[in-house]
């Protein structure tokens, strides 16, 4: 008489859906490999040691920003202030070197990340305590932090000559052909990814993004978790600011200006749902790599500068379209709507 028995879901079917989930990140990876492959065939120099190093270095800062952004987006929030936080922290880094030339590098790195964390805490506190939409608050702090940066810098510029050579070498040195900065980024991404996957508080971030009301009812400290996510995003933006100095050497108060939309684009291209609850920082980091690689490959492929911007836009659309097509297939597999 058990009529429900027919509704058992075959485990084979589930395994397929698991695979498709994996494909989300895999898809970006494939796109990345394809892009690099095609470009390399057109111009083999694209795979020269120097060029590969440039590619990796180029993605590093965006990948770190995207990791922080992904953490926030997973909780159904967004942090538009990352570009400004990067600018502030980069300027702090430069100023520290300028005013205290003897300062050990780790102290400076920590100071940059700490400043970022403070900015993130401001965002997080406003959002969590006053329960207001993150997009509005961080659009506001985008202006505020940048304004503070301008006010502080007052048109000053910090040049490579002001920064200790040892620190600048961080930006160029490689370990087994991989730039040190990239190693840094990979460690950050892996740690963040593992934390989100394997720790209760990490999973709670997904829960919050999936349904904030349900999260509150299940006893999750929503405010505290969201606050923490913003602090993390801020700290990573701060870290990115420090790395920015190591990489570019020259900087003024405009560092990171306009980065926010690139970061959000990287996260979205990386398969993190903009309405929270799903996606991974690995995907976001890959999305950042893909975007940077597009930026580097287009000139190599001979695209005129005027077409490059348009192509980036078209590729962003293509990437999110593809991701959508994949997730629709997953949904179909599950026999559910939407």
């Amino acid at each position: 008489m058990t009529a429900v028995a027919e509704r058992v879901e075959s485990s084979a079917k589930t395994r397929i859906t698991h695979k498709v989930f994996l494909v989300r990140e895999l898809g970006i990876l494939v796109a990345l490999v394809l892009l690099i492959g095609i470009t390399a065939i057109t111009n083999p120099r694209f795979l020269s040691a120097q060029s590969v190093k440039d590619l990796l270095l180029g993605s590093t800062i965006l990948a770190i920003l995207a990791t922080g952004q992904a953490i926030v987006v997973i909780t159904r929030n967004v942090d538009l202030s990352v570009g400004s936080v990067l600018g502030l922290s980069a300027f702090l880094t430069g100023t520290l070197f300028l005013d205290h030339p003897g300062l050990p590098i780790p102290v400076v790195v920590l100071a940059g990340a700490a400043l970022g964390a403070v900015c993130g805490a401001v965002n997080g506190a406003l959002i969590a305590a006053a329960r207001v939409p993150a997009l509005v608050v961080t659009l506001g702090t985008l202006y505020v932090f940048r304004g503070i940066d301008y006010q502080w810098a007052k048109g000053k510029q910090i040049n490579a000559a002001d920064i200790p050579a040892a620190f600048l070498h961080l930006g160029t040195r490689t370990v087994l052909g991989v730039p040190v900065l990239t190693v840094f980024a990979v460690v950050v991404v892996l740690c963040a990814g593992y934390f989100l996957k394997s720790y209760r508080s990490g999973r709670e971030l997904y829960a919050i993004g999936s349904d904030p009301t349900a999260a509150r009812l299940s006893g999750i400290a929503v405010g505290r978790r969201v606050f923490a996510a913003f602090v993390a995003s801020g700290a990573l933006a701060g870290l990115a600011g420090v790395l920015y100095v190591a990489r570019f050497g020259t900087l003024d108060a405009n560092a990171g200006n306009g980065q926010e939309l690139n970061v959000v684009a990287a996260v979205v291209v990386g398969g993190v749902a903009i309405f929270g609850g799903s996606g991974s920082v690995y995907g976001a980091a890959l999305g950042a790599m893909l975007l940077t690689t597009i930026g580097s490959a287009l000139p190599v492929l001979g695209t005129t500068p005027f077409w490059q911007r348009a192509s980036v836009g078209a590729l962003i659309l293509a990437a999110i379209g593809l991701d959508r097509a994949l997730s629709v297939r997953v949904a179909k597999q599950l026999g559910g709507a939407k």
């Binding site: 120099r45 020269s48 440039d54 405009n254 500068p305």
Partner: protein, 326 residues
């Protein structure tokens, strides 16, 4: 006139005939830009203090013509006597400048000009020919007699002065002595450090035979220098352009860059302030042949199209760069 850009010798007569209390406002393309910080706050401000005027600097935080218009409107309402402006667009701010002039302000453009009819004077840091000539000469010297492919890393695609220089460089390259140099590419770093850096990187990835880069913008040349000095192309691909000594010192020292050029931005702002004051005091009207004294820089003559020329660009090399600090 002194040959070096930071001329301090030939002392002018000071504020002779200049009205005191003139309100002089500097409106750069963008505040927070170190180049304009030098020209306005280290040059213009000094001049205004010398002739006992009231100095101010104002402007948008991003280099867009529409934002500049809003500031021009404000300045004209504030009863400013002299507006010294570096135009983000040669046409877009014309309407606002006209209204400001109707309201009684004298308009001096510096660094980047508008259409001649929109302003009273243009303070030209160097002629386009002069800039183009020196850049091509520098890159040719750096690359050597065999020549090869070169590329330009410019600022924004719409920058008036950049495009004028690029045009002149092409004419210069047509000369027989540069027949071995071939301009293969022009890319735009948008005067953004990061973007310029990536464009430099893209150039080298794309052009295996590239021998030299000219970047006629301070942001671009610094970014390209930074990229080259940290890459395997250091010393193999030559770089020159318009840069400031402080930004470029490290790259000249480490051999990435042999020589580059620039005028003294502080002198540019200084001259613009004096020229504006002379206009506002009725000493000159801006017609060709008018003469006025610009403090320590001495006497200048208004040339064709109401233009005043600061001088020739100055070339910085490893043996003279340490004498400068800006």
């Amino acid at each position: 006139e002194d040959e070096t850009p930071s001329s301090t010798s030939s002392g002018g007569t000071g504020g002779g005939g200049i009205k005191s209390g003139l309100k002089v406002a500097f409106l750069p393309k963008q505040v927070n830009n170190p180049y304009f910080d030098t020209s306005d706050n280290k040059g213009g401000k000094v001049a205004v203090e010398e002739f006992k005027g009231v100095y101010s600097e104002t402007g948008p935080s991003e280099a867009s013509p529409s934002a500049q218009v809003s500031y021009i409107n404000t300045l004209s309402q504030q009863g400013t006597n002299v507006i010294a402006v570096s135009a983000n667009d040669k046409d877009a701010i014309c309407g606002a400048l006209k209204e400001a002039r109707t309201a009684g302000a004298k308009v001096v453009t510096y660094d980047s000009d508008t259409k001649p009819e929109c302003r009273d004077l243009f303070i030209n840091q160097a002629t386009s020919e002069g800039i183009a000539k020196v850049q091509i000469k520098l890159i040719s010297d750096a690359i050597g007699p065999d020549g090869g492919e070169i590329a330009i890393l410019s600022a924004t695609a719409n920058a008036t002065n950049q495009n004028a220089w690029i045009e002149m460089m092409k004419q210069e390259l047509a000369k027989p002595e540069y027949s071995k140099l071939k301009l293969v590419d022009t890319v735009y770093g948008d005067d953004d450090d990061q973007k310029s850096f990536q464009e430099a990187q893209g150039l080298l990835a794309k052009r295996p035979n590239l021998k030299g880069i000219i970047s006629p913008t301070t942001v671009g040349v610094a970014a390209a220098g930074r990229y080259l000095s940290g890459s395997t192309y250091k010393g193999k691909v030559q770089l020159t352009g318009l840069g400031t000594p402080n930004q470029m010192r490290a790259y000249v020292k480490d051999g990435t860059v042999k020589a580059f050029a620039l005028w003294n931005p502080a002198d540019l702002g200084y001259l613009a302030a004096w020229a504006g004051a002379a206009l506002a005091s009725g000493l000159i009207t801006g017609k060709e042949g008018d003469k006025f004294t610009a403090g320590k820089l001495g006497e200048f003559t208004v040339g064709k199209d109401a233009t005043v020329l600061l001088g020739d660009p100055f070339t910085f090399k490893s043996d003279n760069i340490d004498q400068f600090n800006f």
